[in-house]
């Protein structure tokens, strides 16, 4: 098992505080995160201390305290008149470090795959889909299929990659979805998060948060953060409870993401963003859904189960979901592309259950781009297998 790198005493305090906080639960970090920090500190060790000089000067101007919990440090920085300068100094440091780290990653790159599946109920024809990113890729006609997801079978691709690829293994393949259509059929190393499957945990968290807020026994955000960290998923609430890293990931997604407890597609988007940032999966299958309409008074009852508190039957908001997802397609694609692991070697397939067209953003050598349309979904599956080398 790897160990956390030692943080040099010479680093500016604000930098050390944040990095230290991110590394403090080292065993709960994904391998990709551990690798990043090890490479980061190896690089810092080889770097001239002058890299941090301007940040150190700004800290002095700020009177950055010696000992400050990260959440308090964030508050201190946000309210400090030198905050903009501080951000610029940090950005300048990473502008010099990131290219070196990225080049290390690029040297060991391999083909990756992201499949984003939209729900069949969206009220849009193919020409109104993926508008914010359509000019990045190619629209490819598909042959109609009555069993779209079964024929495309993206979960199987992810499972096969995790099991058979030399780049596979734990945390290499993920499925994140609203429903359960992407669940692996058998025990699988595929990491799987489902908004619906997590319902017992979500409801317990909402009750707990509501209780904490109402009890008014938590004096500040730091104490609240400490309390929330104890609300781990139980074994009865989901399979991810068996893996401490995935259990902590579920807790963090539901309690630190905006709206993830409340809106199914927000859960999927935020979980995907965090998976990309932290785990850097080689294969990711993302299944969005239709969110419900907001019931009267819902904005007043943030941590209540809307179905329990309001007997009006829930109604699907198909048009609202369409609008929401058009933004999320962009955010998801952008997030992957921020990291060197994904640039230039990732095929993105945006499809919609039952729709006879998909959008593919991929490097020119992706076999999907060379296939003759309209494509059968089984042919898409095969082309993607070939792309992944499985």
């Amino acid at each position: 098992m790897s160990t956390a790198p030692k943080i040099p005493d010479t680093l500016p305090r604000s930098f050390s505080a944040f990095v230290s906080d991110q590394m403090k639960d080292w065993p709960l970090l994904f391998p990709a995160e551990q690798s990043y920090f090890q490479r980061l500190f190896a690089l810092i060790e080889r770097t001239q201390p002058v890299l941090f000089a301007s940040l150190g000067e700004i800290e002095t101007k700020m009177a950055f305290p010696k000992a400050l919990a990260p959440i308090e440090a964030v508050d201190f920085l946000n309210r400090n008149p030198y905050y903009s300068q501080w951000r610029a100094a940090v950005a300048e440091i990473f502008a010099k470090l990131d290219p070196v780290l990225d080049s290390e990653i690029a040297r060991s790159g391999h083909a990756r795959l992201v499949v984003v599946v939209s729900p069949a109920q969206l009220p849009a024809d193919p020409s109104r889909m993926w508008l914010r990113i359509e000019n990045r890729g190619k629209r490819i006609p598909l042959e109609p299929s009555d069993n779209f997801l079964s024929d495309l079978n993206p979960s199987s691709l992810a499972h096969q990659f995790a099991v058979h690829s030399k780049h596979g293994g734990p945390y290499s393949a993920w499925a994140i979805e609203v429903g359960q259509a992407l669940s692996p059929a058998n025990p699988s190393p595929l990491v799987h998060y489902s908004y619906e499957s997590l319902q017992p945990y979500r409801h317990r968290l909402m009750r707990e948060v509501q209780r904490i807020v109402e009890s008014q026994t938590v004096p500040g955000p730091r104490q609240l953060s400490d309390r929330l960290k104890k609300l781990q998923i139980l074994a009865s609430e989901g399979a991810v409870a068996q893996d401490p890293i995935l259990a902590e990931f579920a807790r963090a997604i539901l309690l630190s993401g905006n709206g993830t407890l409340l809106v199914n597609n927000t859960f999927v988007e935020w979980a995907t963003m965090q998976a990309v940032r932290r785990a850097r999966p080689s294969v990711a299958v993302i299944g969005f859904g239709i969110r419900n309409k907001v019931k009267p008074f819902s904005s007043l009852l943030i941590y209540q189960d809307q179905d329990a508190t309001n007997p009006i039957p829930s109604q699907q908001d198909v048009l609202g979901s369409y609008v929401d997802l058009e933004v999320f397609y962009q955010y998801v694609w952008q997030e992957f592309e921020k990291y060197a692991e994904f640039r230039t070697n990732t095929a993105y397939v945006f499809c919609c259950d039952g729709m006879d067209e998909m959008l593919v953003i991929a490097p020119p050598d992706c076999p999907l781009l060379e296939s003759k349309p309209p494509l059968k979904l089984s042919a898409v599956h095969s082309a993607l297998q070939e792309w992944l080398g499985i």
């Binding site: 309210r79 008149p81 905006n258 709206g259 209540q304 009006i312 908001d317 609202g320 933004v327």
Partner: protein, 389 residues
């Protein structure tokens, strides 16, 4: 037999009751004398798109369809295309910067008042305006301390009345959930019953936070308030969001008390934090509609028509779509999408036109002070010269 209680009548009764009590106890806590005639008849209404909204969903070409009322008002207004929030990009600090004329760096959860004096206090102290002449109506609960700053020489005795209408509703709805009835929160009768009980337990902290003189509700006022809210909840305009209630209360305050200085903080668009772009867009359009209705009231109300300047601006923006934070969901990046806003000024003496030069959120208080005939004191902001010709 009593005439039927309407929303209008309810606030008139409730307002007059409160007003009488305040005036009887303390005609003018600042000087101990009745309110003098104002030096200038100008009135100022500050409207903030609270919660934060981006240029791209409002006055950028692709956003204009979200704000049809403001777009229609723009030709009659002065549009500041570059209004910059250079301060802390959080809700309380942003709005506190607007009302103090100084960039604020206080606790953002409402545990501290704005640092230094607010415009409300300076207005009331310098003009001798009475306690009913300055109001803040806000949807956000943490704005309870927005009416007065920390300046020891001023503070609450000169502050604005702060009304948090949503909190009244919130208490009632939460109470229904805690004590489930057959219909849950869909059962309006149950909500109303709880509203009544909330009021019976005292409204301090849930709704009106009128300064000390008005805090103790007598039975008549409480009953009137309850009846009025019952009528309101059952009426055709029953609120489904805090902002609709905020608008309703603001309009009734204008009709009843005709204050010279009002801050209205709408808030629904902060639903963006939930991660639904469509709900965020809907909230923007709702705020646009409510802002337009507020202007309609100014035009229709003789106490305001021809003597009122309304300044409309977002308190802050939200992260850009290309930003690392998560786009429209947050407002933490400090990128131009978070900081660069617009300001629309309309009404009395406002020359039509457009200005590209940068103005800042802290200039709003200085401008309002000038319009009200108030010396700006130690405000860092400067009056927008375009509005003071």
């Amino acid at each position: 037999m009593l005439p039927p209680i309407t929303k209008r009548r309810f606030l008139r009764l409730a307002g007059l009751s409160i007003s009488n009590r305040i005036l009887a106890q303390n005609p003018n806590p600042a000087r101990g004398i009745p309110n003098p005639e104002p030096r200038t008849p100008n009135k100022v209404i500050l409207v903030t798109f609270g919660g934060g909204v981006r240029y791209s969903e409002t006055f950028a070409p692709e956003g204009l369809h979200n704000i049809p009322r403001l777009v229609a008002l723009r030709p009659e207004s002065h549009f500041f295309a570059n209004c910059v929030n250079s301060g802390v990009l959080s809700h309380f600090n942003s709005t506190a910067s607007i009302v103090t004329g100084n960039w604020q760096r206080v606790d953002d959860f409402g545990f501290q008042p704005p640092a230094g004096p607010t415009l409300f206090e300076q207005f009331r102290k310098q003009t001798g305006a009475g306690p009913l002449d300055a109001w803040t109506v806000a949807t956000n609960k943490s704005f309870a301390q927005m009416g007065a700053g920390s300046d020891r020489g001023l503070g609450a005795p000169y502050g604005a009345n702060v009304v948090l209408p949503k909190q009244l509703l919130l208490e009632a709805v939460q109470d229904v959930v805690k004590k489930p009835a057959a219909g849950g929160v869909a059962d309006r009768d149950t909500v109303l019953e709880r509203l009544e009980s909330v009021l019976a337990e005292g409204y301090e902290g849930v709704g009106w936070t009128i300064f000390k003189g008005g805090r103790q509700l007598d039975r008549h006022v409480r009953e009137t308030l309850t009846r009025g809210l019952i009528e309101y909840i059952n009426g055709p305009e029953a609120p489904t969001s805090g902002d609709e209630l905020t608008f309703f209360i603001t309009r009734e305050i204008m009709r009843e008390f005709a204050p010279r200085l009002i801050l209205v903080n709408f808030w629904d668009m902060d639903v963006a934090h939930w991660g639904s772009y469509s709900l965020y867009l809907n909230a923007i359009t709702k705020t646009d509609r409510l802002t337009g209705m507020l202007w309609d009231e100014v035009e229709a109300n003789p106490a305001y028509r021809g003597r009122t300047t309304m300044l409309v601006l977002p308190e802050l923006g939200r992260d850009g779509d290309r930003n690392a934070a998560n786009g429209f969901l947050n407002h933490r990046s400090g990128d131009p999408s978070c900081r660069n806003m617009w300001l629309l000024a309309m009404g009395a003496g406002v020359p039509r036109g457009e200005t590209d030069r940068p103005v800042h959120h802290i200039d709003v208080a200085a401008t309002a002070a000038a319009l009200l005939g108030v010396k700006p004191g130690e405000m860092a902001g400067t009056p927008m010269r375009e509005l003071l010709l």
